[in-house]
């Protein structure tokens, strides 16, 4: 057994202080008749924040339900309505909560949307799921159609035609938002939101950089909580304040060489989603002297925004999101993380209801090994549906993998 240090001060009570509050605020906004929108990840949420729309994330809500151990019941509820068990568990979980659940829903459920906004940037599911929800709630849906970044370029190396198409749809988005909210877009306000979002991204990447320290001052359990702001409210002051505090705490820890565990045996990279229903698995890894020091997920959401060119920089930020690109992009990110974070092994969890996170993991495994001689484990799981693989099965596979790393 390894010596596990106390958890971080900044992230203690994170759920209560930020996530729970987020849902309380959203319900209050709904009661006060302020516009509430459902948003899919990889949607340019800064646009909503600048228009005083209250965004809520069905995906985040599903992860809350998984952590609270009710996701499977909710999935089953959606399955009874005819939604296949092979669909994205996030979507099944949220649809299940919409169809009516006999018990009390976590955080009183998602507030009913006045409208929904989605994008084809990350997956088909975002389009199809929101289409179903929009119909069930008879609420308007805006779709931002995003070309696939097949060239794999970063935000500075994108196809100009893709940027043009994206920007032209932002015009339509603001027209839609103006109609829904009855207020005009204030460009100054948009620039301010972008500046805050930019700052949030910068802080988040500083936090990630500090995790390169050996021993690492922060592991995946905390990162998967703290990443909440990157996804859900990057353009808000509370994100900046929280990340500043977290960064400062990590700086101290890094300076004093206080790691998550004192004697790190293995440092791992984690791809895709965490097991929301089983975040304890990271603590179990810690007890074995294993720390997940970098997640691909944590390296997906940051992006620099030029407040003087709001439309173009939003287009560049989201078009270049890794979820919208070929497997080579993922390989490049993981190879970089393995090198920079002094990593011994890579966990590649698939996600049963997600093609985007499942197809291609073998290519990643082979490429990382060929390039760096570092082993990966393709772990067949689902982030929120533990019927695919339960805790015991997951620990057994991880333990076997750790054995191979030893030799």
């Amino acid at each position: 057994m390894s010596t596990v240090n106390r958890r971080l001060k900044s992230t203690s009570g994170f759920y209560r202080n930020y996530v729970k509050k987020f849902y309380e605020d959203a319900h209050r906004a709904k009661a006060e008749k302020r516009p509430v929108a459902w948003v899919a990840s990889t949607f340019p949420v800064e646009a909503l924040q600048a228009m005083d729309v209250v965004p809520v994330w069905p995906e985040n809500y599903a992860s809350v339900c998984a952590a609270r151990q009710v996701s499977v019941e909710l999935c089953e509820r959606a399955e009874r309505e005819g939604f296949s068990r092979d669909l994205c568990s996030y979507s099944r979980c949220v649809l299940g909560s919409m169809f009516g659940y006999e018990k009390e829903l976590p955080e009183s459920g998602l507030p009913r949307p006045d409208f929904l906004v989605t994008t084809t940037c990350a997956c088909d599911t975002h389009l199809k799921w929101f289409q179903v929800a929009s119909r069930l709630y008879r609420a308007p849906l805006f779709v931002l159609d995003v070309p696939y970044n097949v060239g794999g370029g970063d935000s500075a190396h994108l196809d100009p035609a893709h940027i043009e198409y994206y920007k032209s749809q932002l015009d339509e988005l603001f027209a839609f938002l103006e109609k829904q909210t009855g207020t005009r877009l204030d460009l100054g306000r948009l620039s301010e939101t972008l500046a805050v979002s930019n700052w949030t991204s910068k802080l988040w990447m500083e936090i990630q950089d500090l995790r390169k320290t050996v021993p690492s001052p922060m592991d995946a359990r905390d990162a998967f909580s703290a990443v909440f702001f990157m996804l859900c409210m990057p353009g808000s002051q509370v994100a900046v304040d929280f990340y500043t505090q977290l960064r400062d705490e990590l700086r101290e820890r890094a300076r004093d060489r206080i790691g998550v565990v004192e004697d790190e045996r293995f440092r791992l990279v984690w791809d895709n989603l965490p097991l929301w229903f089983n975040l304890k698995v990271f603590e179990w890894l810690n007890s074995l002297g294993v720390v997940v020091v970098a997640e691909v997920f944590s390296h997906t959401w940051a992006g620099s925004l030029d407040a003087s060119k709001p439309f173009e920089s939003l287009a560049r930020k989201y078009l270049s999101n890794m979820a919208n690109s070929t497997i080579q992009r993922r390989i490049d990110i993981i190879v970089g993380l393995v090198k920079d974070f002094h990593v011994n092994g890579v966990i590649l969890p698939t996600n049963w209801g997600c093609r985007m996170m499942s197809i291609g993991e073998t290519i990643v495994r082979d490429a990382v090994y060929k390039k760096l001689g570092v082993q990966s484990l393709v772990l067949e799981v689902d982030s929120s549906d533990w019927r695919v693989a339960g805790d015991a099965q997951i620990r057994e596979r991880l333990a076997t993998f750790l054995e191979t790393l030893k030799s």
């Binding site: 939604f83 296949s84 389009l127 179903v132 499942s358 197809i359 993991e361 290519i363």
Partner: protein
């Protein structure tokens, strides 16, 4: 019927047909999605062929693709790994669905096929999407010109549009023969005809279609009328499943498959700028489930159900097709609201996948036939 034989042969000899075409120094280009602007491939004097899988196992592909990936995409990739498509001079993939977009990585990384091209396909048909897709089609044309060193003039495109429209119109006429009672042709016969259009030279196919139409009215071996069915779903690249339905008393008279009615339902506007018209048809045709306008597909299915006077519907969803799985409950409800009994089936694209379906299809047809 003897006049059906050439269609049937083209399905079993599809690779030989392609190789024969190639032996005369003309390229063969594979594609996987019916949103591919095929006319442009035809215009460069290449043979466009749809890539299919087989109904055997997918052991080779399973080493690379997980069990929760589209079993059709896996089967196609398996055929590629086995070398079935080694003759291809080019291959066109698209982001029209997640499975397809991700399988592109597989082909790029593991297949030996040269000249792999990716077309970005919008998931909506707004004016802006049209503008974007037109540019994509222009780029595709330029890529074909560069790759096969041949200029594609407007005249060549117009010629291609004529040939393709003739093919679509003929297929539709034959399709409508199933409106008759009893239907003049079997569902499996029609599927052989439709599928052969995806793998053989279109000019030759048009001749065969005309010959078939001339002779079919006098056929002596009229099919037996069974329970009249609409089948709904995504792609159908083989006739086994329809044969299975026929073997237990069903008559597949209408379909909304992308390789069935949705392939030929809409014509390209021959009076417009060729590339614009080709691009426009792609986005405006009866949509596939990855497109935003799903109600239009449901409408298409419902209209077919009425016009072809079906008794029931069977929905086939290939595992693991997200877009169809999301559409399924609503389509099921809409068909039921028309008073149709509906059977919903998910199937693995393989022979063993079929075996599991037979009992359920048989029971369903008996149930519908009983009340008929």
């Amino acid at each position: 019927m003897e006049v059906l034989q050439p269609f049937r042969n083209s399905l079993s000899n599809r690779h030989e047909i392609a190789k024969e075409w190639k032996s005369r120094n003309r390229p063969v280009v594979g594609w996987t999605c019916t949103y591919t602007p095929e006319e442009v491939i035809y215009a460069v004097d290449a043979l466009p062929v749809m890539v299919w899988g087989t109904l055997g196992d997918t052991k080779l592909a399973d080493a690379y693709m997980p069990s929760n990936s589209c079993s059709f995409a896996r089967s196609c990739f398996n055929a590629a790994l086995r070398g079935d498509y080694d003759y291809l001079d080019g291959f066109v993939e698209s982001n029209s669905c997640d499975n397809r977009g991700k399988t592109y990585d597989m082909w790029v990384n593991y297949s030996k096929i040269p000249n792999i091209y990716f077309i970005n396909t919008p998931h909506t048909n707004t004016e802006k999407a049209h503008r974007f897709f037109y540019e994509e089609v222009v780029r595709f044309k330029e890529w074909l010109e560069r790759t096969f060193k041949k200029e594609i003039s407007d005249d060549l495109l117009k010629g291609a549009m004529r040939v393709y429209n003739e093919n679509r119109a003929l297929l539709k006429r034959i399709y409508e023969l199933k409106m008759k009672k009893p239907p003049l042709i079997l569902g499996s016969e029609f599927l052989e005809i439709a599928l052969s259009s995806l793998v053989m030279p279109k000019l030759e196919h048009n001749q065969l279609l005309s010959r078939f139409l001339a002779e079919v009215e006098n056929r002596s071996d009229l099919p037996r009328e069974g329970v009249r069915l609409l089948v709904a779903g995504s792609v159908m690249d083989n006739t086994e499943l329809v044969r299975l339905i026929e073997s237990v008393g069903g008559s597949v008279v209408a379909d909304d498959w992308c390789t069935g009615s949705r392939y030929f339902w809409n014509l390209v506007d021959e009076d417009s700028d060729p590339l614009k018209a080709i691009a426009k048809r792609c986005l405006d045709k009866v949509p596939s489930s990855f497109m935003y306008g799903r109600e239009e597909r449901f409408r298409h299915a419902a209209e077919l159900a009425k016009r072809f006077d079906v008794d029931a519907a069977i929905m086939f969803v290939i595992k693991y097709c997200d877009t169809h799985m999301f559409d399924a409950p609503l389509l099921r409800d809409e068909l039921k609201a028309m008073g149709l009994p509906v059977l919903y089936l998910e199937w693995e694209h393989s022979m063993s996948g079929f075996a599991g379906l037979k009992t359920r299809i048989e029971a369903f047809i008996e149930m519908v036939g009983g009340v008929k």
